[in-house]
């Protein structure tokens, strides 16, 4: 392993949007896998356990720190969803032209933020 050549790592390259969207995809995906799934199982377990357990979850989720975590997770979801959809397009061999690639690298995370804001506006204002 040790004597094999290594490819240059992140700090070697000049940063561009395509690198940002790539690392965001990994961070949001693995973040959701480690934090989101644990909270999701907690929510389901509380719901299955009864009113008291769910009440505790609900109280914590409704608090300011709870909202920060949930808003963060929803942002992670929408960001991962948008960069995932971008991956589907790249998978069929489209979207590699430099301008197109750059445009969607910027648009994917921006649309994700808009979706996050829209979702929470709907939830909090309804």
């Amino acid at each position: 392993m040790a004597d094999r050549p290594l490819s240059p790592h992140l700090q070697i390259w000049k940063w561009g949007p395509h690198m940002l969207v790539s690392i965001l995809h990994r961070i949001t995906g693995d973040g959701m896998a480690l934090v989101g799934l644990a909270i999701g199982l907690w929510w389901l377990g509380a719901l299955a356990s009864g009113e008291e357990a769910y009440g505790l979850f609900y109280e914590l989720a409704s608090s300011i720190p709870g909202h920060i975590v949930l808003i963060g997770l929803s942002w992670a979801f929408f960001t991962h969803m948008m960069s995932g959809l971008r991956h589907f397009v790249l998978d069929i061999g489209a979207g590699y032209e430099l301008d197109t690639n750059k445009m969607w690298s910027i648009l994917a995370p921006v649309i994700a933020i808009i979706l996050t804001v829209a979702f929470w506006a709907w939830i909090l204002l309804k």
């Binding site: 896998a33 389901l44 719901l47 299955a48 979801f77 979702f119």
Partner: protein
């Protein structure tokens, strides 16, 4: 390396012809996640509130329970594949890598089973009845 067969000398050192399978499953489960997560988010947005009786009654319906069980399988499978890549990329010591992948498999299966069990219990326990 030993003096094994030519295939034996390269096994585990690169493509073991599992990459395409992993890649495809990541996409299949991604499509499942996309459809089912959009269902979950839309459901959250459309429920009148997210209090215990409302959410419990909603998830006890056969369609919701089935969708939630499918979401759990799809999302835990997808997470398992994603975290496996994370481990493979950043853990370079063979023993640690193996141990982490084993742990990941156990945790992913345990998580999915626990989630599906909760859904079954919610779906089959009447509200207000003996828990």
């Amino acid at each position: 390396m030993g003096n094994g067969t030519s295939i034996g000398r390269v096994r585990g050192l690169g493509s073991a012809r599992e990459g395409a399978h992993h890649w495809l499953l990541q996409r299949f489960t991604a499509i499942g996640n996309l459809v089912l997560m959009l269902w979950l988010i839309t459901s959250f947005a459309l429920l009148p509130d997210l209090t215990y009786p409302t959410v419990r009654e909603w998830l006890a319906q056969p369609l919701s329970a089935a969708a939630m069980a499918l979401l759990l399988v799809s999302v835990f499978w997808h997470a398992r594949l994603g975290l496996q890549v994370l481990i493979e990329d950043y853990v370079h010591e063979a023993g640690s890598k193996f141990a982490l992948v084993v742990l990941l498999n156990l945790a992913a299966i345990a998580g999915a089973v626990f989630g599906v069990f909760c859904v079954v219990r919610i779906a089959l326990t009447p509200l207000g009845g003996a828990a």
